[in-house]
């Protein structure tokens, strides 16, 4: 088996009194696409956010157990969260480009991490936009506001923005759910391309999408990880009854 880049061990997460994740153990392989599926409210987004500690922003959240990124526990007190998030990037459900130009959106991350040279930034911007398959569409209007683009374009800008800091892992929470079919298929193609270089974890409600683009698939139910395995295996021969019921559409 491929080496694990992110490993959750006995991960419990509480929002106040409410337990949203229960003893999750999961090994996410490097340079593969891992899909998280399950009915609404089962904890997919919550789990995804534990991987780059975006849960820190939620008040009253309590986490037990560990998540290791390349062998380091990311919940150890001395860990630099900005270092972690730089390596484990995130694309959100709703496209959220900054109210700035396309160029400044992409350059935001590199600038944050100390890159100032105009030429170097130009290179990064072009490389990231090419990486997100949107360079051709915006190369003539890099100075235009990113918010003037269509939703699908904005989402690819957000992907490019995440790529610009050269992350190791890319987390995507229903990144195509707000998009039309054409934009969605563009982003799916993009994910297939990106996995050559990056580890990708996606949350999706779309079974076909999970089958199309993921190598590994995890089925969550009420805060528990019910089943985790190769996508083809999980969809053709689910081991757990509840997984089977979910993927055949009998509940959820």
């Amino acid at each position: 088996m491929q080496e694990a880049i992110l490993t959750a061990r006995g991960l419990d997460l509480y929002y106040g009194e409410n337990q949203a994740l229960k003893k999750i153990d999961m090994e996410i392989p490097e340079r593969r696409v891992t899909a998280l599926i399950g009915p609404s409210g089962c904890g997919k987004s919550t789990f995804l956010k534990t991987l780059n500690r975006m849960n820190d922003l939620v008040p009253n959240v309590r986490i037990e157990g560990t998540v290791e990124y390349r062998g380091q526990n990311i919940y150890q007190p001395r860990l630099d969260v900005t270092w972690l998030r730089r390596h484990v990037g995130m694309v959100f459900q709703k496209p959220n480009p900054f109210p700035m130009s396309i160029y400044d959106n992409i350059a935001y991350g590199p600038r944050t991490h100390g890159i100032r040279g105009r030429k170097q930034l130009d290179e990064i911007v072009e490389r990231s936009l090419r990486g997100a398959a949107i360079w051709e569409e915006v190369r003539d209007r890099l100075k235009k506001p990113a918010l003037s683009l269509s939703g699908g374009q904005q989402q690819r800008i957000c992907i490019a923005r995440a790529l610009a800091v050269e992350p190791d892992v890319l987390l995507m929470d229903e990144a195509t759910s707000a998009l039309d079919p054409i934009s969605t298929s563009k982003i799916e193609d993009l994910i297939a391309e990106l996995k050559k270089q990056y580890t990708i974890v996606i949350v999706t409600h779309n079974m076909q999408q999970a089958v199309r683009i993921s190598d590994k698939c995890a089925f969550f139910l009420m805060g528990q990880l019910i089943e985790f395995g190769d996508t083809t295996q999980l969809f053709s021969m689910p081991q757990d009854k509840r997984t089977e019921e979910y993927i055949t559409g009998r509940f959820g």
């Binding site: 270092w83 998030r85 959100f92 959220n96 900054f98 995440a162 800091v165």
Partner: protein, 305 residues
């Protein structure tokens, strides 16, 4: 009308009732309209009154002489009516208040909207509200008894009633406006922007200054313009702490503002002197109008983005 009456009859209601109700509606509409018209009428009246009564003196003195003359001797044997000292004092005083007040107010707003815990924020917010409710005469009084003597000893002056004292008092007076308007703008910045920045590995402070503040910039600019309007229109407090002498402005000298120039001579003025006071009021009025126009533009811009 006939049809309505008929309809009422069919509903079993006395036709008369509906008629009086309709009349009542019309009457109320008229009342509302008249109330609304009152505000417009007052503005029109004040503008016209100021223009009519402010122009004669300007015509007599000469516009350039009036605006750019550096000596105001309204009661001398050969009176001189140059209001440049007042204009510059108002401009410097306001600029000083903004230079001191805006950084403090802005940082407080960032702290309140992004960093402070709910309890600390509630305490500060209450204090800010109270600050904005204190009458300006009270600011003047405390400035007079605390600030003015302190400035006198600190700078070894004969009198501490100076432009500096006025600037400090004005800075405190504009603070609540800067804070509350900026905070509203900062709190309205969508959380998604901040999340995106944090997810890229930016720190919270970086995020607030590079994403939230630029996104709220037109609201923050509006708060500054509002503060300018407040400062330039303030009379009572500055009259009490600035010494009220018609000098060309200098930080450690007594000065007189546009507002206080009108207020301090009005009661005993006559003839051209009195007319000139109206001209000063007209100049002040134009300043305020300009500032309000700027504010309107900024707020509109903020709404669009």
């Amino acid at each position: 009308m006939k049809r309505i009456l008929k309809g009422n009859g069919q509903n079993g209601l006395a036709p008369k009732t509906k008629g009086t109700r309709a009349a009542f509606e019309t009457g109320m509409n008229l009342l509302f309209f008249l109330c609304g018209a009152v505000a417009v009428l007052f503005v029109l009246f004040i503008s016209i009154y100021l223009i009519v009564s402010g122009l004669p003196a300007i015509r007599e003195i000469g516009l350039a002489e009036f605006l750019f003359g550096d000596t105001w001797k309204s009661t001398g044997k050969e009176p001189q009516f140059g209001i440049l000292p007042f204009i510059l004092t108002s401009v410097y005083g306001t600029a000083g208040a903004i230079v001191v007040g805006v950084p403090i107010g802005f940082l407080t707003a960032v702290f309140l909207s992004k960093l402070a815990g709910p309890r600390v924020a509630a305490i500060i917010r209450t204090a800010v509200e109270l600050l904005s409710g204190i009458p300006s005469v009270v600011y003047g009084l405390i400035g007079m008894t605390v600030l003015v003597p302190a400035i006198r000893t600190a700078f070894h002056l004969a009198s501490g009633a100076t432009l500096l004292a006025a600037i400090v008092v004005l800075a405190i007076m504009v603070l609540p406006y800067i804070i509350s308007v900026s905070e509203t703008a900062l709190s309205a910045v969508p959380k998604e922007y901040e999340e995106a920045s944090l997810a890229l590995g930016a720190t919270e402070i970086e995020t607030y200054f590079r994403v939230s503040v630029p996104a709220a910039s037109s609201g923050i600019a509006a708060s500054v313009v509002l503060g300018v309007g407040r400062a330039i229109g303030e009379a009572m407090a500055v009259m009490m702490v600035a010494g009220n002498v018609a000098n060309m402005p200098s930080l450690l000298q007594s000065v007189r503002f546009l507002t206080t120039a009108v207020a301090s001579e009005m009661s005993y003025s006559s003839g051209l002197q009195r007319q000139a006071l109206f001209s000063i009021a007209l100049v002040l009025f134009l300043f305020i109008m300009l500032i309000n126009a700027a504010l309107a533009v900024l707020l509109k811009k903020g709404k669009k983005s």
